[in-house]
């Protein structure tokens, strides 16, 4: 089974983002960029499925500016076999991403696609569900465990009240939650090997997709800052303040 894993280049999760003074977005110039953490979990899961003999080939896909090739290289160093970069300067929103990935799925015919459940930049949490819809495939979102049996897939999902297990026919879409696995660090030899793995570059037009955004960002602002309050000296003082000052208990 071939697995397609989309990976997104985002501002590293350790970076404290700053809103641009002109209100057009957040500062990304000179900021450390990394693979979206949920996508790392997706790549790791695909690599483990290959190690178990369930997957035969892993294709890492990234969509965006030329620098997204670095994110693909990271996936290749973790164990993906080859990469596809769909290069564009357009601000890609989830619906456009889903359409591009659908076109790639039709070309590559994977048995499974594993995506991160959300990107930590736009926090949309929607691409996997939309891709599943466009392909007419079932979806196992927010997955914490995958089991392949009888030609299908059962997915344990993290839901509002705990865990839920669903059975999906294949091909299917899975989106990863935090507890699915702990991604590996790429070893130096694997980083070297990844440099020789192929990355194909396409344009949205090659896939017959119009990637124009549907949402116009009117402005981006910093949220109101919460002021730090006071330290209290004892539990008794805390309880007294909560009762008489804050009046919340």
């Amino acid at each position: 089974m071939k697995i397609l894993v989309p990976v997104k280049r985002v501002v590293d999760y350790n970076v404290k983002v700053r809103v641009k003074a002109d209100g057009t977005g957040v500062e990304t110039a000179g900021v450390k960029m990394s693979m979206n953490p949920f996508d790392e979990i997706a790549v790791e899961e695909a690599v483990r499925l290959k190690e178990k003999g369930i997957a035969t080939e892993i294709v890492a896909v990234s969509l965006g500016i030329a620098a997204c090739a670095e994110t693909i290289r990271t996936a290749l160093a973790m164990g993906a076999d080859r990469g596809i970069l769909v290069e564009t300067d357009v601000d890609l929103q989830p619906l456009a991403v889903a359409k591009l990935l659908k076109a790639l799925a039709e070309r590559e015919q994977p048995g499974l696609m594993i995506l991160g459940k959300q990107a930590i930049d736009d926090d949309m949490s929607s691409t996997g569900q939309m891709l599943a819809a466009l392909l007419g495939w079932p979806q196992g979102t927010f997955a914490s465990k995958l089991v392949f049996e009888n030609g299908g897939l059962t997915v344990t999902r993290e839901v509002d009240g705990g865990l839920e297990t669903v059975a999906l026919s294949l091909p299917a879409i899975v989106t990863t939650d935090l507890r699915l696995n702990e991604p590996r660090y790429a070893s130096l030899p694997n980083i070297m090997k990844a440099r020789k793995k192929p990355i194909e570059t396409l344009k949205p037009a090659d896939l017959g997709v119009d990637p124009a955004p549907r949402l116009t960002v009117l402005k981006v602002v910093e949220p109101a800052k919460r002021k730090a309050g006071a330290k209290v000296g004892s539990v008794a003082e805390l309880v007294q303040k909560l009762r008489t000052e804050a009046k919340v208990i």
Binding site: L95, M130, P138, E158, L168, V217, V220, L242, A246
Partner: protein, 312 residues
């Protein structure tokens, strides 16, 4: 303009985040609601009591019993053309189904809406709430998930909308519900509680969460956790408060042994009053706390339980 809100329910009552989604929809115009389930007519009747709702659509089918995204999205797609907006609370259940329906309608969904400016324009947090984006949609039908913590829920009673049966449609059978392993608790739900007490890595293990219980009992609080505590296996996943877990905004949030990573703050910094108890006085949680206590939680928690009892 009429909005359709898909309501999350437990078979008889409407969940609080869904009532917040109704509150958001009331900013847009007339509000119809959809209750989908199996043998859940009581929930549809309860939906009719929500103030401001003018029509309840009830869809009864075994396929809707467990909230599977594929049949629910098909139902939303069948109903959406009659509406300008389709909304759902941004819970795990809502986020699972709404984007699927939106894609089938060629609409770019807007997730975690925290403010309604007008019928096309919405405010939503990005980058773990470190920035707020105002976005305008050009799609004919807008699909929104609503950040429940940003909208005071409508009351559970006061309205009197009629319940109508939703039209029957052909449903896809791509997926099948197998089982659920839900946390059982007598406590209020995290997203609905007036008081939330969360433990972090500082709790050291799951057993120590018992120290929180007498305090939660006393305050009628829900118990939550940081991602670190969930990842370490101290407590189940549904306890997680944060960017990728639950978003809460209670009257009182008590963070115990939680350092205050950005992704955790994203889930609780809109709480009205924040208390932090941590032995590290440099912990970033103190920068957002209204009341900070630098103390060893293993000493402070029993003291807090005793003090609450003494002064009750």
């Amino acid at each position: 303009m009429t909005a359709l809100v898909l309501l999350d329910h437990d078979g008889s009552a409407i969940k609080q985040p869904a009532r917040s989604a109704v509150a958001a929809a009331l900013h847009l115009g007339e509000v119809h609601v959809l209750v989908a389930g199996h043998g859940a007519r009581a929930a549809a009747e309860a939906a009719g009591l929500l103030p401001g709702v003018t029509k309840v659509l009830y869809a009864d089918n075994e396929a809707f019993a467990h909230g599977l995204a594929e049949p629910l999205a098909a139902l939303l797609v069948a109903l959406a053309p009659g509406y300008t907006h389709v909304l759902v609370a941004a819970t795990a259940a809502g986020k699972n189904v709404l984007p699927r329906a939106a894609a089938l309608m060629d609409s770019q969904p807007i997730s975690e809406v925290a403010g309604v400016i007008d019928a096309d324009t919405f405010v939503r947090p990005i980058y773990a709430g470190n920035a707020l984006a105002t976005v305008r949609s050009s799609d004919a039908i807008k699909f929104l998930t609503v950040r429940a913590a940003s909208f005071d829920p409508v009351a559970a009673e006061g309205g009197s909308a009629k319940v109508e049966d939703a039209p029957g449609i052909a449903l896809p059978t791509l997926s099948r519900f197998v089982s659920a392993e839900l946390s059982r608790s007598e406590r209020p739900e995290l997203t609905a509680a007036r008081v939330v007490i969360s433990g972090g890595r500082g709790m050291q293990n799951g057993e120590n969460f018992k120290l929180i219980e007498p305090i939660a009992d006393r305050l009628g609080a829900a118990v939550g956790a940081s991602r670190a505590a969930v990842d370490a296996g101290f407590v189940p996943n549904d306890y997680q408060v944060g960017q990728t877990g639950k978003i809460v905004a209670p009257d009182l949030y008590v963070a115990i042994g939680i350092s205050g990573a950005i992704q955790h703050l994203a889930g609780m910094k809109d709480s009205k009053v924040i208390v932090a108890i941590n032995k590290d006085e440099e912990a970033p949680i103190f920068q957002v706390a209204d009341y900070g206590l630098v103390a060893d939680l293993f000493k402070a928690l029993p003291e807090l339980a005793a003090e609450l009892e003494r002064t009750a």
